[in-house]
């Protein structure tokens, strides 16, 4: 009895309580020594298959160490500086754009102190000396000095878009300076402004391939859910259970086929998108998306086992019922599960007119409502719910029958 009290763990053989250490060993052991217990063997296999799918195949990854926080901290320190600089430039630029009139030069110098000319003898950008031919110029944004050829001229129109990228200068006076006027700025300031501008442009534009691809992925995701459901129903059906109906399985298969068609078309569309000849990568990408999709359809969708025919199904059911009788194992009554609506779906309000009002019996009424639910759930291809609703209906029917019997008895 001492043994009965110890709790054993591991891959135990249900017959001899030996620990076999791995599911494979367990199955082999069972096949060798207890081959007469086919039912148990099957259930072990099932458990193992599930185990294999859920835990073994994607083995839990080993440890990892993240440096992201440290990386971000270092980057922030550097970029904070850069961001404030850029923001300063933009504020100045905004004010520069508002200046006009004869004292513009003075206003400009008030905004940012210009470097004194005598301090700089060579252009800091190209290191050539200043003289009569190569004169000193000031950057309007930071006040530093450079030569003419090292200056960058920022057109007013572009400056406008930098200051206000969204409302393209519509509510501000459009021509503060003259049309086609430029601001002289240095290379450094231009880089900072340009960098920011490019980031903004990137953020706004989303190429067509992205839209198509996200559409494709969304559909693929839906298909995957449907496929999972299909496999579950299929397995349940061929193992002789009556939880799901064959016709539902068939309709699900049609849905999958339709969706497969859809992602096929989408991926073709992606493959045929026009490609810039200078971008061989884009072409490769589009082709690979197409290839991956057709592999997915071939390997995951076309390989789905076809639904059994009505005859096959009958045979399975018969075999199963024989097996049950022979073993004489009372199958435990399935407990009634509550209908759990997982993704926010619920049968639309059942119109009460459809249920027969004369039915005074609350049970009958209830049964009608459930039947209605089943129809709706089937239409929405919510077969999980169909199954549990069916179960409910069976129970109701049983209760109704008992009630009837009782009433007859009374009479």
């Amino acid at each position: 009895m001492a043994e009965a009290n110890t709790i054993q763990e591991g891959f135990l053989c249900p017959m001899c309580h030996k620990d076999l250490r791995s599911p494979n060993n367990l199955i082999v052991h069972f096949q060798d020594l207890h081959s007469e217990e086919q039912d148990i063997l099957k259930s072990i296999k099932d458990i193992y298959d599930k185990y294999y799918l859920e835990y073994s195949d994607p083995q839990e990854p080993g440890p990892t160490r993240s440096h992201t926080d440290y990386f971000r901290a270092v980057r922030r320190e550097r970029l904070d500086h850069r961001t404030t600089e850029t923001n300063k430039l933009i504020i100045r630029l905004d004010r520069l754009l508002r200046f006009y009139g004869s004292d513009r030069k003075q206003q400009e110098q008030e905004l940012v102190t210009w470097v004194e000319g005598y301090l700089v003898s060579r252009c800091p950008a190209c290191t050539l000396p200043f003289n009569i031919a190569r004169r000193q110029h000031h950057c309007r944004l930071c006040g530093s000095i450079m030569c003419n050829s090292c200056s960058y001229f920022l057109p007013y129109e572009i400056a406008q878009t930098i200051v206000a990228p969204v409302n393209n200068g519509s509510d501000r006076e459009p021509a503060t300076g003259k049309e086609g006027d430029n601001l002289r700025i240095c290379n450094h300031c231009w880089n900072m402004l340009d960098c920011r501008r490019r980031v903004q442009i990137e953020q706004m534009k989303q190429p067509i391939i992205c839209q198509l691809y996200s559409h494709l992925q969304k559909n693929k995701f839906h298909i995957q859910n449907t496929v999972d459901m299909y496999e579950k129903m299929y397995n349940s059906l061929v193992s002789g259970e009556t939880t799901y109906l064959l016709q539902d399985l068939q309709s699900l298969r049609t849905t999958i086929a339709d969706k497969a068609q859809m992602i096929d078309t989408l991926s073709k569309k992606i493959a045929l998108l026009p490609v810039d000849p200078g971008m061989p990568k884009a072409a490769a990408l589009q082709n690979n998306i197409r290839k991956a999709t057709s592999v997915y359809i071939k390997d995951y969708l076309l390989t789905l086992s076809a639904p059994p025919t009505v005859q096959e199904l009958e045979k399975i059911k018969r075999n199963r019922s024989i097996g049950v009788v022979e073993d004489d194992i009372p199958t435990p009554k399935p407990s009634i599960k509550k209908v759990t609506v997982t993704t926010g779906w619920s049968p639309a309000n059942v119109t009460n007119e459809t249920t027969v009002v004369e039915e005074n019996d609350p049970l009958l009424e209830q049964m009608n409502i459930v039947r209605n639910y089943i129809d709706q759930a089937r239409k929405a291809q919510r077969f999980e719910e169909v199954a549990s609703l069916q179960e409910n209906l069976q129970l109701l029917k049983k209760m109704y029958r008992e009630q009837q019997k009782e009433e007859y008895g009374k009479k």
Binding site: P58, E60, P61, T64, R65, H67
Partner: protein
């Protein structure tokens, strides 16, 4: 302890962590191999990775970018890679970067990278420990074709091996005690370096393990015989005769092979026939491939008669599987066909029989006789002839009637190249009796004789698979707790605490597929043990002789001065 699953899990984590979207995977030469060992291209495409790029390819830096792609970066933490990545981040080609290093990276390198990320494109920086090649679930390699110079560690190779093993231990969550082969400086150096890193990174190595695993470091020189033998199990045979390189077999030299079969992938992960037959012997593969053929033909036949709509429907449904099967059948038929052609053409069965006898029996005069007979056979390849002489040289190095000189003369008469002749001297310098601590040829002790009798009676002993690698004895001792502490001491202040259940064997100088088979059968026969085998590389005889040549280059002849008819000029 499954290295394939460990690497796969990391790759999966890498592809899933980076949010959905089209992705490109940026790798270097070595990480490309790491990934390609476990994932095929079409498989990784299902993880939304549509482009593969090499950061070290010469035209990568001028290639165009696609800003709408996410970039998964998977690199070894080397100086070149960090520099290349800095350049990349300064002018990013892609929209976002998820950076994964295959090993421990210095903080200073992270800082440098962070300073170059001016566009804030980096979203993630992590270490994922997969700095080794996962060959089979119980077999890994570092991918170093040679690891010694002048019979000492090549420093680069030592460093690489340390990194490889450290990442292996981390990926499997093992913090082992380390034992090493006592007579080998190389083993001790490697063990000490690993131990140092384990204590330095003790926070990383803090796993809650039930029992302490063992890392046993061995030197190839203790068993130079195994890599020289012809092999008769599928994987080992393919490697010996056709060479497997990162799961790929080059068949372009095979006559009449179609273009798509010029390089085939042999991966147990994607190919069930291969997975089933990887450890089967030559005879069994023949039967199995016939079965596969029959199966295929039956399917093909059923596809021929398409009469009704229902047949058509059936055909369309089964066609993808059919096509897959057909590709697989052609592949294996080609491979096995080539193997069997070589076996017949070069009389490999005869050669192997003698090889096996030399390696596992003790009968000098009859062995000498059989070798001489084969050396006179024109069909036997020069390499096989030379290998037979090498086996003889190792086996009877100190035998009183040693007739190596005579055999070398015979080889010369056959016109065997000087290089092959020099290999005989090389291998004696590399792994002659002076370099071995185990009794490699103690094959005929009393226990084994009785065993042989029993085996002989039941008639299961196969003449081509008599040889058991030295590793077999080592493992047997280890499993029974009889491995001597003087011969295999512990590193540091570890001590023997019972029998470890998880055992990692690492062979400096390369493991072989024969040893992989040994480990595989140990795992099967002793389910309570979990053994993993690794090596600086996976050798066949050709690659092994190259390594020996490299290791003994410029080493003065100490132990082979008596062999006067081979000269190095």
């Amino acid at each position: 302890m499954n290295v394939i699953a460990a690497v796969k899990a990391y790759v999966l984590k890498m592809t899933e962590e980076s949010e959905p979207g089209m992705k490109v995977l940026l790798m270097d030469k070595e990480t490309t191999s790491v990934i390609s060992m476990v994932y095929g291209q079409s498989e990784i495409q299902q993880k939304e990775v549509f482009l593969l790029e090499r950061i070290d390819s010469p035209n990568y830096s001028n290639s165009s970018g696609l800003r709408y792609l996410k970039c998964l970066v998977f690199l070894r933490p080397t100086q070149q890679n960090i520099e290349a990545l800095c350049t990349e981040l300064r002018n990013p080609k892609y929209g976002a970067y998820y950076i994964y290093f295959s090993n421990i990276i210095a903080k200073a390198d992270i800082k440098v990278l962070a300073e170059h990320d001016e566009h804030e494109v980096v979203k993630e920086v992590q270490e994922l420990y997969m700095d080794y090649l996962a060959v089979n679930p119980h077999l890994f390699s570092i991918g170093l074709s040679t690891c010694m110079n002048s019979l000492q560690w090549d420093q680069g190779a030592l460093q690489r091996s340390v990194q490889g093993i450290i990442s292996l231990l981390l990926s499997l969550k093992k913090c082992p005690a380390i034992r090493y082969q006592a007579n080998s400086r190389l083993c001790k150096d490697l063990g000490t370096r690993i131990d140092e890193i384990m204590s330095k990174e003790s926070s990383l190595f803090a796993f809650g393990q039930n029992s302490q695993p063992l890392l046993l470091i061995l030197d190839r020189r203790d068993d130079p015989i195994t890599p020289l033998l012809n092999q008769w199990t599928y994987q080992a045979m393919v490697h010996e005769l056709l060479t497997i390189n990162n799961n790929r077999v080059n068949l372009s030299n095979v006559t009449g092979v179609s273009k798509e079969l010029s390089e085939v992938v042999l991966s147990a992960e994607q190919d069930t026939f291969y997975a089933k037959n990887i450890f089967m012997n030559y005879g069994e593969i023949g039967t199995n491939i016939k079965q596969l053929m029959d199966q295929f033909q039956a399917k093909a036949k059923s596809h021929q008669k398409i009469e009704s709509i229902a047949d058509m429907k059936c055909f369309v449904e089964a066609y993808p599987q059919f096509k897959k099967l057909s590709g697989n059948v052609t592949k294996h038929v080609t491979v096995v066909g080539e193997l069997s052609a070589m076996v017949t053409k070069y009389h490999l069965l005869d050669v192997s029989e003698v090889e096996q006898e030399i390696s596992s029996q003790n009968d000098h005069s009859s062995h000498l006789h059989s070798i001489k007979k084969l050396l006179n056979n024109e069909k036997v390849r020069s390499t096989d002839a030379a290998k037979l002489v090498m086996l003889y040289a190792l086996r009877y190095q100190n035998h009183s009637n040693n007739d190596l000189t005579g055999l070398i003369e015979l080889l010369k008469k056959r016109g065997v190249s000087d290089r092959l002749l020099r290999h005989i001297v090389n291998i004696l310098e590399y792994a002659g009796s002076h370099a071995r601590q185990s009794d490699l040829f103690n094959v005929e002790n009393a226990v084994k004789i009785t065993k042989r009798f029993i085996k002989g009676l039941s008639g299961v002993d196969n003449v081509y698979t008599q040889h058991k690698p030295l590793l077999h004895d080592t493992l047997e001792n280890l499993v029974k707790g009889r491995l001597k502490d003087q011969l295999y001491p512990f590193i540091g202040n570890h001590f023997s605490n019972g029998r470890p259940q998880d055992i990692i064997i690492f062979i400096i100088g390369g493991a072989t597929y024969e040893e992989s088979l040994t480990v595989h059968s140990f795992n099967k026969n002793y389910p309570s043990f979990n053994i993993l085998l690794g090596g600086t590389t996976i050798h066949n005889s050709a690659s092994f002789l190259e390594e020996v040549e490299q290791a003994t280059r410029n080493v003065p002849r100490k132990h082979t001065r008596n062999i006067r008819n081979i000269r190095f000029d």
